[in-house]
Amino acid sequence: MSLVTDKLTTKSLIETGELYSEMTEINRSLINISNFDFFYGEKQALFDVNMDIKEREVTAFIGPSGCGKSTLLRCINRMNDLIDVARIGSGKITVNGVDIYDDRVDTIELRKRVGMVFQKSNPFPKSIYENVVYGLRIQGISRKSKLDESVERCLKGAALWEEVKDRLDTSGLSLSGGQQQRLCIARALAVEPDILLMDEPCSALDPVATAKVEELIHTLKDRYTIVIVTHNMQQAARVSEKTAFFYLGKLIEMNATDQIFMSPEKEQTEAYISGRFG
């Protein structure tokens, strides 16, 4: 599925988007979150969040633990549906103009377009090959040539191909931590999503593996819209175009990454970035 900008998208282009866009190309807004409240049981986890996420940009969510950044991320592909007590208060999230909490939205279709990579690498206890083609198999694709082609493409896309091409039959669990995480990314790519959500993808990795994943994110952003939650501010600075800072369930500030790190508007942001809390 390609994301060729057609005439409909120009309509939904938000003028201000250009202001802090580093890219020369004008990107449209792909994900729009407005007045979003979210609860775990009685506890409110997100307060009135508003943001636009642009197509083919890397957006980083930063903030101290428990500030709601992962929660928001999981709202974007409705993974929070799996938690019984989770519910939305008010507001909405639209992807490509569609309110994803609309009753008619099919979470399965949604998740095919909005892929996710988790904090802890979680390959299935299957072979590397089967891990990658899992998403295709559940869509009923079983032609060997198609699967082979997809495995190579996705593993290459995840910069893992050279390392594993000779042992595709070994268990995904036999890989090192960084490789496992890239395998998970390859697995997510196989479904051909438009958006990749990454929930602290490097938090369990060593610096070398982290560098590889970051490198991968750089190459991926040409084709995918990426939202990454990270604890590591350097990482956010390195990989993202936009950065959103969360604190206690509120979106404090969102701006171009340079701006956030150089001259944050809000005091809390500055305090966090300069390491005074968090």
Binding site: N77, E109, R111, F124, P125, I138, C184, R187
Partner: protein
């Protein structure tokens, strides 16, 4: 004990009191250790005791089988086989008669008329029956001789034991007064053997007269009857062809051939008869009981596996939180229903219900319905399934619960349906746990006593698997059932008592194997959750 110097905070000598050089700590440790030792010894003792009581069986059974051979009872049995075949022929012939009478009744004939019609070819039937008399007499006579020989021999053995007991307690006079007649089994057997010519003569007569008589067989117009009659002719011809075989087996039979321990073992393991308190010979073959247990367990498992595992998947993956909090304890609660209550329910309600359902018009197309028995393998199996479900459910649900949430999340995040996630990720990951749950459920079922004792119908016979699915609705007996039924009546140390111990030992070994396998599977296939 040292005086503690309050000023010296670094006196590191123990200040604890000791008694006879043993501190309180050590005493406690000893107490716990002693208890552990007792428990382990006792549990080990159970194994040993079962072996000790059971192993003697094979020697005793060997003696019993030897006596069976030496007294000539085995020889008589060979002849009896011929008689059994002949009786089967007679039975078949009678079935033709009853079929004819049924047909006539259906045609609306009066009882008297039927009788008259049947009388027309009465002679043929009587003649055929008469043919069997000499053989029957011969078998009865031989049997009597053989049994008498065996009984006298056993009496002699008993008296010998009695005498040595008397001598042991010092009553020598009484011991000497005992008259013990030596019994020579060989001599007695010669009596039997000398009559073998009679048997050959009987067979010769068969060969001569059966064809003659069959020629007088009535010719029926009815095609069904005619078909049966021609089948009867074939069967009789087959019988005649078998006759030399019986004679040959008599000739090749060797009274002196010794019976080894191995033979008594195979006779137990593969023996298809379990007959006790018989006047002729007691047989202890575990096969019918083992197969009965197996059949019932299979029935139960076929019902319980889909329901138990399905319910586990449902509760763990599909059900709403409210359903979960109710269903889980409820199913655990089912396992608390005592087996005797379930068995009682089987007799009082379920057995009757099954038979009634089997009588429904809508089910009449099933060849083995309606069933004649109320208590069958199916009755017991169905109830046992209910007992196995909680075991399977609880353990399988645990296994499903142990599948890391991240697997589920990863799969769902790629847009798979919940069912796809369950089938492709969750169940395969939990498979080892589910298999061991099923195995433990099986173990529970095969070791269950009261339900099978009350509901299985208790017919000791190898289930007739040749009848296809109908075998499910036959009464069977089981290993657990036989112990419960017969243990109360046995004499301590007798061969029957020991046979039951061997059955218990078999159960013990089977259950250990199942448990062991279940644990191995869980450990071996445990996924690393790195």
């Amino acid at each position: 004990m040292n005086e503690v110097d309050p000023d010296n905070r670094y006196d590191l000598n123990s200040s604890r009191k000791s008694f006879l050089g043993i501190t309180w700590e050590q005493a406690l440790k000893g107490l716990f250790g002693g208890n552990a030792l007792v428990s382990i010894v006792v549990l080990g003792l159970i194994t040993l005791f079962l072996f000790k009581e059971g192993v003697g069986f094979f020697g005793q059974y060997r003696e019993s089988l030897s006596l069976h051979r030496q007294s000539g009872l085995e020889y008589v049995e060979l002849i009896r086989e011929e008689l059994d075949s002949f009786s089967a022929l007679e039975k078949y012939l009678n079935s033709i008669r009853s079929m004819q009478s049924e047909q006539l009744t259906a045609e609306g004939m009066e009882f008297k008329e039927i009788k008259a019609t049947l009388r027309e070819d009465e002679e043929f039937f009587y003649d055929f029956e008469d043919l069997g008399y000499p053989l029957r007499e011969y078998v009865l006579d031989s049997n009597e001789v053989a049994i008498a020989a065996r009984d006298r021999y056993e009496e002699m053995l008993n008296l010998r034991v009695h005498r040595s007991n008397l001598i042991e307690i010092g009553k020598t006079q009484e011991a000497e007064a005992l008259v013990i007649n030596d019994v020579d089994l060989e001599q007695l057997f010669e009596l039997l053997k000398s009559k073998e010519t009679d048997f050959i003569e009987i067979n010769r007569k068969f060969r001569q007269s059966i064809p003659n008589i069959i020629e007088q067989a009535p010719l029926y117009e009815n095609t069904e009857l005619a078909a049966k009659m021609s089948r009867f002719r074939e069967l009789s011809a087959m019988f005649l062809e078998e006759l030399p075989g019986y004679e040959a087996s008599l000739l090749s039979w060797d009274r002196k051939k010794p019976i080894g321990i191995g033979e008594s073992f195979t006779a137990f393991v593969f023996g298809n008869k379990w007959v006790t308190n018989s006047s002729i010979q007691d047989w202890y073959g575990i096969a019918p009981l083992f197969l009965g247990s197996l059949l019932i367990s299979l029935i139960a498992m076929i019902i319980a596996i889909p329901l138990g595992v399905g319910a586990a998947i449902y509760v763990n993956q599909v059900a709403t939180p409210i359903e979960q909090t109710i269903i889980k304890p409820y199913i655990e609660f089912i396992s608390a229903i005592p087996s005797v209550v379930i068995g009682f329910f089987g007799i009082a309600v379920f057995g009757t219900l099954v038979r009634e359902v089997s009588g429904w018009e809508a089910l009449s197309w099933i060849s083995f319905f309606p069933m004649s028995e109320r208590l069958t393998g199916f009755t017991a199996g169905g109830l046992l399934a209910l007992m196995a479900i909680p075991t399977i459910f609880t353990l399988a649900e645990d296994a499903l619960n142990n599948v890391p949430l991240s697997y589920k999340e990863a799969s769902m995040a790629m847009g798979s349906t919940r069912l796809q996630t369950i089938i492709r990720i969750i169940v395969p990951t939990a498979l080892s746990g589910i298999i061991s749950a099923v195995l433990l459920g099986f173990g529970r079922v095969i070791g269950e006593t009261m339900v099978v004792l009350l509901c299985a119908g208790n017919r000791i016979e190898i289930p007739r698997f040749s009848e296809g699915l109908g075998v499910v609705f036959e009464p069977v007996h089981t290993m657990t059932g036989i112990i419960a039924q017969e243990l109360g009546e046995v004499v301590n140390g007798s061969i029957h008592y020991r046979a039951l111990f061997v059955v218990g030992l078999t159960l013990f070994v089977i259950s250990l194997l199942i448990n062991y396998m279940a644990q191995k599977i869980v450990i071996k296939f445990q996924i690393s959750r790195g």
